[in-house]
Symmetry: C2
Subunit: 404 residues, 2 copies
Amino acid sequence: MLQGKILVAQGGGPTAVINQSLAGCVIEARKFAGVERVYGASHGVRGIVDEEFLDLTQETTHNLELVAETPCSALGSTREKPDLDYCREIFRVLQAHEISTFFYIGGNDSCDTLRIVSEEAAAADYALRCVHIPKTIDNDLLINDHTPGYPSAARFVACAFAGVNLDNAALPGVYVGVVMGRHAGYLTAASTLGRKYDDDGPHLIYLPERPFTIDAFLDDVKAVHNRLGRCVVAASEGILDPSGEPIAAKLAGGSETDAHGNIQLSGTSSLADLLTGLIRENLQIKRVRGDTLGYLQRSFLGCVSDVDQREAREVGEKAVQFAHWGNSDGSVTIHRTGFYSVEYRLSPLEAVARKTRPMEDAFIAPSGNDVTRDFLLYLRPLLGSGMPDAFRLRPNRVEKILGK
Amino acid sequence: MLQGKILVAQGGGPTAVINQSLAGCVIEARKFAGVERVYGASHGVRGIVDEEFLDLTQETTHNLELVAETPCSALGSTREKPDLDYCREIFRVLQAHEISTFFYIGGNDSCDTLRIVSEEAAAADYALRCVHIPKTIDNDLLINDHTPGYPSAARFVACAFAGVNLDNAALPGVYVGVVMGRHAGYLTAASTLGRKYDDDGPHLIYLPERPFTIDAFLDDVKAVHNRLGRCVVAASEGILDPSGEPIAAKLAGGSETDAHGNIQLSGTSSLADLLTGLIRENLQIKRVRGDTLGYLQRSFLGCVSDVDQREAREVGEKAVQFAHWGNSDGSVTIHRTGFYSVEYRLSPLEAVARKTRPMEDAFIAPSGNDVTRDFLLYLRPLLGSGMPDAFRLRPNRVEKILGK
């Protein structure tokens, strides 16, 4: 039963809808008579350890609704990955503030933090309810059909590639766009939802789930360019060579790594420059351009899926309901029940923590450089309503007179 | 008087609304009884020389309306910059096809092509009406208050920086976003329209109109970072060192140049990497990220200003009306008449051709790294209706117990 003091925090990379989950959690929690206070920690676990709490009981519902529609963690976030000692420190602060329930909105690392804190509380015989609220644009959480944040980022990527495809058709050449997603190809694959006509790009997509070789890449680009006179490529920031080494790391040498030991893949554009350089040097194609889609993918103000918004809201609300009516800690998970509908369950923390899910084989075409129709059916409903559409002139050719 | 065969073409970099001008021109031209055919040239002047024409008289109005809302030149574009011989070849094809009126949608280079073709026609005593329809996201055409395409690109840049500012607030550090615009700072300056609260970024903007020095840049970033614990920078791709050399070129060495002799500034991310590298090496700041906003700025599907749409439509329509009711060649220019309203005039081709307009001094703050209120008032109405807004939680701090 929900009572006393509640704490909510946001961890990891921001998304377009992470504040929907915050609002869903806070507004729902404030409805229960036994709830004294709803605190929000600044910058995730860092704010807990530093006792940097906001009293969200004193925030208006109206402003919470406006914040819900604003992208990026309103409480602030952190990239810190607590070890056992750090988690003990978290628990000590929760105890001191008599927190009864801890909601953490984040990915698999945030879920793992909750798992450890939950174990510490159990060992100390302290009644603490820990509930994980899922979010990640990488769409790589286990058990979940998909994760809040992914659909909006996918919509951005689809609209971006629909646009650069038109640009590339107007001024033909090769265009390479590098997409976020770390070890999972889901976000890169979303670029295919921007296609409409048969010859629309992206014509080639490269995912971390399939080994990337320079020779195959150049052959692919050459074949498309010969056929269409142009080529649009979507490449994941996390593509790997056949030995499993990241292509970006291969190039970058001693790159920055984060607290999770992951190499920094975003905020640098070396991969796009590497790939366009390879094409320029080897294929004698004049106009070759590359972009790294960068932070706009998760933060752009004004590109959001309404399906994503409502689901992010609901996982926050459900987390509170599971905490109140249920008897165990866990992670709220999303399960697809129709075309298109979902339901929410509470899954064990350890089932979601740490591990990541690659893109399913059934979603990747046998060629390895495209998606299947199954993937299009999987993603389309998530993009939400009002997807913009592209149109073209029909060919009514005029006969030549000079006949050049 | 409009009669016989009409030709329309699109040149230079695509914009989000360039097809509004096409639709405005074609639909209006088709209303005149004397008009036999409306042709569209594929890929600008290249398509004229190659006699690659579409008969737009056989396109439905309904589809033209849908194409109007689609970004990027539907007829295709070109970067070719005709010299006198090329223009004579254009004229020869126009003569062969008995074209009476030639509309060219483009920037100052396209206007210059029209100027030369117009002179050739006059010299040959051939009755050819040439009307230039303005477009460029760089906003650098003379005489015009602003140019179609700029408001939508500005809206994209404003929304992008509003988003990365929120991202940077959630995960503090330094963020550098490189913006298009070539020699004009207008598009970079648009990033400031994403600010709302006093401490919102971009905190620093760097424009081609003011000399860029590495020392001043590092001092600026350090000061902001010391004050706010974070810093968002918007830098124009066209920033120059005090001797007038492009910073991007300085770094890039032997870069690709186009037919106009311009260095390739977009489609490579070296400038963002250079600037973030400087900060990392000199300022001991850990989290430093850089993005090059790239082609999304002019092509993203679903980010458009409705004011830009209607004005782009109108300059196309007005071009036809000037051709029908007027007696001279010229360029359709936009003049501001209220807050906010505009009127359209026909200005001489030679007044708009070739030359570019830098950002006005009155729009640049004395510090050189920000805009003035005059600029905010200039740009805001152009962004159109429905601009998304960002909200934040209010501070209601909880007292510390452990007092760490």
